[in-house]
Assembly symmetry: C2
Homo-oligomer: 114 residues x 2
Amino acid sequence: MARKAELELTGELFRALGHPLRIKIIDFLRAGERCVCEIIPAVGAGQPVVSKHLSLLRQAGILECRKEGLRVIYRVRDPAVFEVIELSRGFIFRRLAELVTLAADFQAAQERSG
Amino acid sequence: MARKAELELTGELFRALGHPLRIKIIDFLRAGERCVCEIIPAVGAGQPVVSKHLSLLRQAGILECRKEGLRVIYRVRDPAVFEVIELSRGFIFRRLAELVTLAADFQAAQERSG
DNA sequence: AGGCTACATGCTAATATTGTTATATAGTAA
DNA sequence: TTACTATATAACAATATTAGCATGTAGCCT
């Protein structure tokens, strides 16, 4: 039953994407590979925190890195990750739009009855 | 800064997808809406567990439900979720293929040196 | 009403995730 | 060697997630 392992792996991938800071890091790496000392100020978190999130993303197979002198340079392994995030954003925006419509309808109903 | 909220929402969505049982539930709902009593045996987990995961998926905006007599029938709200999962599977399979290649290379090198 | 079915929810223990602080490592330069 | 820089890791506390069990609720039937 390779099916179970596949579900596990899929779950792991989504969990790796399930943190705002990690999404932010991946977004920042859209422009290309970056060293940690660039990532840290870009995402606005402490060095050990960023380091651990980078490590997690690497273990999840989302990022890979190489050393260059003192620097460690990270990049996204597979651009499909960007597509996954884009699709998810589309999903979220559609949902937000629905909520806005609902809220507007509710407000209009309130004004009529009030 | 609506940017931060967007990152949060994206993270929440991925966390909602970050569990094998929840992926399994969504996969099962590919064929169309299903009541809880069909979902439970399909995913092979206990009733309260399934119920809680369904509730989480609903809160995340991934599923919606309606009552029909005693039954509660769930369905996927936005087919984009299926696409997100498909893309992720593609990502995972490519990564697995790389690992297989690495392992084969390693084994070949071992055999040459041993 | 009482009993039954299909779900949901509350509680608890186990486990996982996260941020912070302090420390370790690796590479550079003097 | 020493000192410094960039990054990783360890240890800890706080919080979140999860499964399992017990219980609650809502709708149907008699």
